[in-house]
Amino acid sequence: MNGDTGVIHVVEKDQDLNWVLADGPHPPYMVLLEGELFTRCRELMLRLKGTSRVSGLAVAISKPSPPRGFSPGLQCPNDGFGTGVYDSDYGPQYAHCNWTVWNPLGNGLSYEDFHFPIFLLEDANETQVIKQVQCYQDHNLPRNGSGPEYPLCAMQLFAHMHAVTNTVTCMRRNSIQSTFSLSPGVEVVCDPLSDSNVWSTLKPINASRKMDPADEVVIVATRVQIDSHSFFWNVAPGAESAVSSFVAHLAAAEALHKVPDALTLPRNIMFTFFQGVQETFDYIGSSRMVYDMERNKFPVRLENIHSFLELSQVQVALRNSSALWVHTDPVSGRNESVRPQVQVRALVETLLNSSLGVNVTLQEVSQSQPLPPSSFQRFLRARPIPGAVLADHRAAFQNRYRYYQSVYDTAENILMRYPEGLSPEETLDYVTDTAQVQSLAEVATVVARALYQLAGGTGNTSAIQADPRTVQVSRMLYGFLIKTNNSWFQSIIKQDLKGLLGTGDEPPQHYIAVSYPVNTTQLVQFVLANLTGTVVNFTKEECLNPERAPGADKEVQMYDYTWVQGSREPNSTSRVPFCVQSTVHLTKALSPAFELKEWGSTEYSTWTESRWKDIRARIFLVASKELEV
């Protein structure tokens, strides 16, 4: 409550740490750590954790990004409690990364319990203030061989968290306080992580009724969807990890909607954007969707799923070779009596065929290799479904994924650079450095063609091209990574959600939060509606109440109508709004464990986030020990 105070000490090399841990005469210390030490050395962090002489930590982010890579995630993501598909009953040799370690650079820092606050100093000027200007240099450095004397420069970090121990404890306390306390709601200490899943279908379906059991659906999912996770709160750009794959997915969805016989395909295609998946917290979004499907709360049932395609990390142009790898599940692939075996082969064949004529090569990984962490695993856990995961890594994430789940995973990381001197409009429309944008568009083409064939399409697939001039992909990458508040995004959102885009120039963060839905979720929803929906000639009242529109029949139940604010008229500040008809829906993605009140569940994700009041920091001079209360 009162923050943690300590005398500042700058640690730039390993030897400085001894002062903090043993020699310094004025514990506790507030350590100002160079970013390089933070990223290079997990033992250093553990030593800080183990001592009581440290009352807090401020990390100065190192620019440029550390070349060797840094990942505070786990080496085996999403392995906890067998929430993936591989456990002792199903493919035990693949469980717990026995076969392949997916994130070898992971040092697991994000999952350690630190008893002091850790702040990130992003601005180099702030670090200079602490180090030079009237603070550390002037007061805290030892002079003439003797130790530093009072007054000393100290820092106080306020980051008091209300919840403790574990989810079971804090959820129990929530329920006790709300039932027995005089003012319920005030004493809630933690909230479950939740957001929404975005899904849309190629052929419209009636979302309030269940699908006919004979109908089949091909699901394409982006697992690394809209959320990311880094060590520091709300700093999670997730460029390589998350954004590339859902941008490719959006481009593929757009391409498929343009195919002339899209509405007459034998099977439907469902474009799903999961939230809270994988890297982050034990498959929150996909486990919820599977749960809803099993309990018939979702229009599509598990029996309707014909096959499953997932796009994992697909930023191919950064690699030396433009190859995408197709991962399949070895256990279901091997089981001859079960339907999937033949269909998995057919699925892989379709995928490989779709890449002919495109500049991306698809290759299959060894059939004995397990699936990488992906939301497909949650679906497999419920039912043997033929499916594949497309990723740009063959085995471990390796150099490809050097900044997995860390603060360094930014736009520079994927080499997006624009020439100087462009106005925001021009930057939006500028088709950037062709290689990676082109490759994303090509990946989208491959996916679109494969989906078309999987859905039973018989036409010529070479006519299907995703974003041939790569305009949309560039714009999406610009909007999601660099500047959300651009004119295209402004024109496709609802008017009352203008605040969604932020005001400044900062790139969007994709952190998963507890409020529902988070910015990026809604943005993806609007972008998907814009790319795959059609403009209909309704007035505002008709758009908001489509049942009353003239000429409307029961068809309106199949669509979602959004009144968007439109683009600005030239030379004026007013906008021309219009109505968009699309098949985009949002469903809540809250872990089933909280619906079932099984807070200690090992079957579903049980992650919660603590509440807090104030997060701030200040530096000041401390006169003497006696005056510290």
């Binding site: 409550m1 008091h160 968290m161 209300h162 919840a163 403790v164 121990t165 404890t169 129990r172 306390r173 006790i176 306080q177 306390s181 004493e187 200490v189």
Partner: protein, 81 residues
């Protein structure tokens, strides 16, 4: 009052009537008052022992008791186990 076994009532008894019972010059009712004060003091001592023991145990062990500790608490402190 005594039937209700009230610790603070007994405390007040002891403190207020102490002078009357022990230090004032003798009078006929004094032995009775003295015995009441003594019995109140005994009761008070008993309560002090019981309450001190319980408070000490609760404060030190509440976190370890987990669920039981939470159900026994009226307000649960934030940020500590």
């Amino acid at each position: 009052g005594g039937f209700a076994l009230l610790p603070f009532l007994w405390l007040v008894n002891v403190l207020w009537f102490c002078r009357e019972a022990f230090l004032a010059p003798a009078y006929t009712e004094q032995p009775q008052i003295k015995s009441y004060v003594q019995r109140s003091a005994v009761g008070l001592l008993f309560w002090v022992v019981v309450l001190t023991t319980w408070v000490t145990i609760f404060q030190t062990h509440r976190a370890r008791w987990g669920e039981l500790g939470d159900y026994l608490s009226f307000t649960i402190p934030l940020g500590i186990p």
